[in-house]
């Protein structure tokens, strides 16, 4: 899964000097100089429209049709304009709604765990007692360099029901983890996602920690606050912004869960169904040749993701102003 890196929080500001200095050059509208920037942007804009906006519109449009097959299957199926059919069908499709519920549960549990881990690591590495900061920062960040699919492949070996190296490590404790059990497999997937992304989130939180002014920490120390107390009352509030940001991206990431379960599916012995996540479910519809239905599922998922992130941003915006 691809989490967009966390940069767009910077306020959209630009140096106040930019615009006026150029305006004084008195470039009339329609002059080549005024049009040049449009040329700079044109290739990107054209491709952006073609690869982002057009497919969504195309999917939204094609989701309005339903494939009708004649009773005997003797004639070719026809597409009939029936704008709500696919949507009502999707909302009543048990495996699709179950997949939505599954990623929601995944997000509610995995995101706080992963970010808790990331925060704890960032605080530990930032603490005065830490040694080998560079090394530990790097080790937690290394999984980020491994493509999601490769990470899932490696972990599928870790989970193997016959030769799991992890279970072999646990042997002295007489513990065997059934990674592919029906009740466990979602958390096996969660572990892969956590492994891949905890370090990435840690770096973002760590960068925020680094920007706390030294005087603030020094003052807290002078007041006799312990390291734990400083972490809790000074550092964590100071990185609130970074935490919100990483939360939003992780939630969005959960909704598009695909690579990890898709890679584990063939070796899971059936505990990962072919419609385990919404994207897998939509892909199923493609495999069945029912493109309009796949389109409707994609649109529903996109709307759900859009709403969740919008709500989150609205909530946190309000917090920022307070």
């Amino acid at each position: 899964m691809t989490h967009a890196p966390a940069a767009h929080r910077a306020p959209a500001r630009r140096p106040a000097t930019t615009a006026p200095s150029r305006r004084t050059r008195e470039t009339p509208p329609g002059h080549p100089r005024r049009l040049r920037p449009l040329l700079f942007c044109a290739p990107f804009v054209v491709l952006f429209v073609a690869m982002y906006i057009a497919p969504i519109l195309y999917a939204a449009y094609s989701s309005l049709f339903t494939i009708r097959r004649s009773g005997l299957g003797l004639t070719a199926p026809t597409e009939v304009f029936a704008p709500l059919d696919n949507y009502t069908r999707a909302l009543h499709d048990g495996s699709f709604t179950a997949s939505l519920g599954r990623v929601a549960l995944f997000g509610v549990v995995q995101v706080p765990l992963m970010l808790g881990l990331a925060l704890a690591l960032a605080l530990l590495i930032d603490s005065k007692s830490a040694r080998g900061r560079g090394f530990f920062r790097l080790t937690s960040f290394v999984p980020y360099a491994i493509p999601g699919v490769s990470a899932a492949l490696v972990w599928s070996f870790m989970y193997s029901s016959t030769s799991s190296p992890l279970n072999r490590l646990l042997e002295p404790l007489a513990v065997t983890v059934p990674f592919f059990d029906q009740d466990v497999v979602l958390w096996s997937v969660a572990n892969i996602v956590t492994w891949s992304w905890a370090g990435y989130n840690m770096i973002i939180i760590y960068a925020a920690l680094q920007s706390i002014p030294a005087e603030v920490l020094e003052a807290a120390r002078m007041d006799g606050a312990s390291a734990l107390r400083i972490a809790w009352s000074v550092k964590i509030p100071a990185v609130r912004g970074a935490l919100v940001l990483t939360t939003v991206f992780s939630i969005i990431g959960s909704a598009q869960l695909y690579n990890e379960p898709a890679v584990l599916q063939p070796v899971s012995g059936g505990s990962i169904s072919s419609a385990f996540t919404p994207l897998m479910s939509a892909q199923n519809a493609v495999a069945d040749g029912n493109y309009p239905y796949a389109a409707a599922q994609s649109v529903l998922l996109a709307v759900a993701v859009g709403m969740v992130s919008l709500i989150f941003f609205k909530l946190t915006r309000r917090g920022d102003h307070a």
Binding site: A7, A59, S129
Partner: protein
Amino acid sequence: MTTVIPAPAARIRPRRETSPASRLTVLALLGLSAFYFLFPLWWLLVAATKPFGEQFGGSGLWFDGFGLFDNIARLSSQDDGIFWRWMLNSVLYCGVGALIGTTLSALTGYALAKYDFPGRGMLFSLVLAAVLVPKVLFTLPLYLMFSGVHLIDNPLAVLLPSVVSPFGVYLARVFAEQSVPDEVLEAGRLDGAGEFRVFRTIAVRMMLPALVTIFLFQFVEIWNNYLLPAMVLGDDRLQPVTVGLVAWNASHVAVPPPLVVIGSLVSVAPLLIAFLALQRFWRAGMTAGAVK
């Protein structure tokens, strides 16, 4: 504050404020996390160097016999050496896609940062919104659209969506704002250089480290995108290495599982090396604007 400072340690100031117990606790916790993050990769390295067929035996913690070269030879001969074809495909898709994508991002980001033009605000809002929506969500619609225009099984179906990177545009805009002073551009213009020339000779040079960062992010993003090539490229001679390896893994025993282990190591190693060598560019991209 309580421990006595040994005189020569004055330079390493923080030491005096921590007790050995707290240092040990922190070290133990961090050590545990390092084990978690490194173990799967360590296992992969160890397993791939074991003699063929013994990949899944033993504890996996330490080397046991040496068969790496033999393993790579077997990997290379499986299915007429298709593995290297996949690697080449991956490098081509990612290299070409990232190169074109970085160029487009640089042009657009620079224009957004340095010019005032109609539609500028709207374009930037669109870019930001697109950064928020994960690319994978566009994959199915893209597939439906490409099958509508018969672009399936065509490398363009992977390349065209890959070169559009809203995040790259965002980064380019931030970096252009930070690293290209208006005065320098103005001086170039006074010397009679056209706008494009100013961009090419002055701005690009000043943004170069930033462009490396954008290139890296795009390269990895394309490499990571599994669903799109898996859907639009049915012909296995066109597939990138991630798609190929997953297919091998799913083939159960048709392809010996040890080959998947070795292939995983070989496909991940160049990325890891590039990642370690180019660390500072990574961090530049991740923290750009995040700490504000």
